[in-house]
Symmetry: C2
Subunit: 214 residues, 2 copies
DNA sequence: TAGATTGTTAATCGATTAACAATC
DNA sequence: TAGATTGTTAATCGATTAACAATC
């Protein structure tokens, strides 16, 4: 089996922003929204928005734009956000706790159903409504949770061991917030979230502006 | 003035990962590291690593690789991580607190020197060693903090107002964790961090694997 | 020396942007 | 109707990958 490759990754990455705007438009009672308007809000090129929206299969009406309701449904469906995804958080530290409390996720169909941690102070409590269990219980509890997605917020040096264990327990999708590149079997999909890379971009932009490096 | 555009953004985004590995190599006592090795660790193509490292100006030795110490210095310098960046966190909620406690940042020259929040329960306390001040004190305290970078972790509906205020107070670089696209004067650089887009990628990969959409 | 690894130049690939006829 | 906006086809741009001579 070969590593999964998303054909149009940049478009997929932009879809959530579109969805956010289009939902707001629906809340305002609009029935149509034009690519031009979406582009303005995100300052993108209108043609880029049209190209991106084309992958959802929704066709717009000249002069009016795209049908709001149908577009929302189509984007949600394209992203697989039309059906709930149960997930567990590994490591109920700062970042893990923050993610459990991140309200936006509910709109994306992401339901964090449990957290696992080693810290006895946290075990048995709930964080933002999510129960924290001992890591030792992972294998026993996971089947009942019906979660096949894990959010990895353990310390980096635990990441690989933790991932191996998750895979054995039945996890097949991993959202990795550690700075460790994970070795995983090919059927497990993984997305690494690297905060440092965003800060690198900000730093380089600031330097360009200030004339360092030129 | 025109919006700042980073010429080779994908390369810049990869540099922090390289830096991480090369630092580990230094800790192991290595004097040289080859692009091949770095590529293997991140599973990238060796040629891509070489191209990326070329932008730092460091030249490698055939058969040995790149000089570890010089490479670290050059990457840090290229990213502007050789001199400390003082930053303030706006909104000491879950995510803001998590970022204050994120140890990796120190290695990137990022020093979070203060947080600002409206919540009286938080004001006057410290979170991960960072003092939390009332937002009302922002303008008074900012000059003394010598921070021109802000990390925005306020609720999305406060984002624009908060950003405007920060800019007026002297902030010129904004790391934006809200899902709000900000309107900013051209001299202020901004990096938006969108957690949803990472989850969109994971969702689409999972669907491709499972054969939905095909 | 032999061969692993480099830097450079060229080829390929994919994403963005431009142009424009179709149309509501 | 007039014109804003669409979808499509082609052009451009930039990033990745390939090829390979140079070299430690």
């Amino acid at each position: 089996m070969t590593r999964i490759k998303v054909s149009n990754a940049p478009s997929v990455r932009r879809l959530p922003s579109y969805l956010h705007i289009i939902r707001a438009s629906r809340s305002s009672g609009d029935f149509y929204i034009s690519g031009t308007v979406i582009a303005q809000e995100l300052n993108l090129e209108p043609i880029q928005v049209r190209k991106d929206l084309a992958i959802t299969g929704i066709v717009g009406k000249p002069k009016k734009g795209y049908p709001v309701e149908a577009l929302i449904v189509a984007i949600e469906r394209y992203l697989g956000w039309d059906k709930p995804t149960n997930a567990v958080v590994m490591g109920a530290g700062n970042l893990g706790s923050a993610l459990m409390g991140y309200p936006e996720f509910h709109q994306n169909g992401l339901r964090i159903v449990a957290a696992f941690d080693e810290n006895p102070d946290k075990i048995g409590k709930t964080i933002h409504g999510v129960p924290v269990h001992p890591v030792a219980e992972l294998e026993r509890l996971l089947p009942g949770l019906e979660a096949r997605t894990a959010i990895l917020t353990v310390p980096s040096d635990h990441a690989q061991i933790c991932a191996d264990r998750l895979v054995k327990a039945g996890i097949n999708a991993m959202w990795n917030f550690t700075n460790q590149k994970l070795k995983l079997p090919p059927e497990v999909v993984a997305q690494r979230e690297d905060l440092s890379s965003g800060f690198a971009m900000l730093s380089v932009m600031a330097q360009l502006r200030d004339g360092r490096n030129a």
